[in-house]
């Protein structure tokens, strides 16, 4: 009726979904987000990626990157522009992974460089 779980729903939640102390993983967190480039030198080195304490599982944003080099099927809502950009970059990285020294991207782009565009 309102925004809270009803008695019945609460029981269901409690039984099927709630993480318990007995569970190996008691809490899920996302990696902390700080702009390293905005920190000055000293405390930039202080920021250690803290080992999450036991029972807290820190989600990894890069663990499944093998799947992220092509758009997966969608239902009713397409991938965002940013997502397509990300996928394209991952494909680009895959293509460059075994390149040594000379960089194909650079060779292609360099011919268009005009210094007045830079300044």
């Amino acid at each position: 009726k309102d925004c809270f779980l009803s008695e019945e729903e609460f029981k269901l939640w409690n039984r099927f979904y709630r993480l318990r102390d007995s569970d190996e993983i008691k809490e899920i967190t996302l990696p902390p987000v700080q702009f390293l480039s905005l920190q000055n030198e000293e405390n930039r080195s202080l920021i250690k990626t803290q080992e999450p304490s036991s029972g807290i599982h820190q989600l990894s944003l890069s663990e499944w990157r093998l799947w992220q080099d092509h758009p997966l099927p969608t239902y009713q809502v397409d991938h965002s522009d940013r997502c397509h950009h990300f996928i394209t970059i991952m494909q680009m990285i895959e293509g460059m992974r075994h390149e040594e020294g000379e960089c194909s991207y650079e060779l292609k782009v360099k011919s268009y460089l005009q210094m007045e565009d830079v300044s």
């Binding site: 987000v33 702009f35 390293l36 930039r44 944003l61 890069s62 990300f86 970059i89 990285i93 992974r97």
Partner: protein, 32 residues
């Protein structure tokens, strides 16, 4: 750009590598 560079360098250092390559950037990219 600076954030991408610093994070990739950090990743290379964590892997004891003298050079950042696309593999390191790939790992930090989602966070960017």
């Amino acid at each position: 750009v600076v954030e991408a560079a610093i994070r990739s360098i950090r990743q290379a250092q964590a892997e004891d590598l003298p050079c950042v390559d696309v593999d390191q950037l790939e790992k930090v990219l989602p966070q960017l």
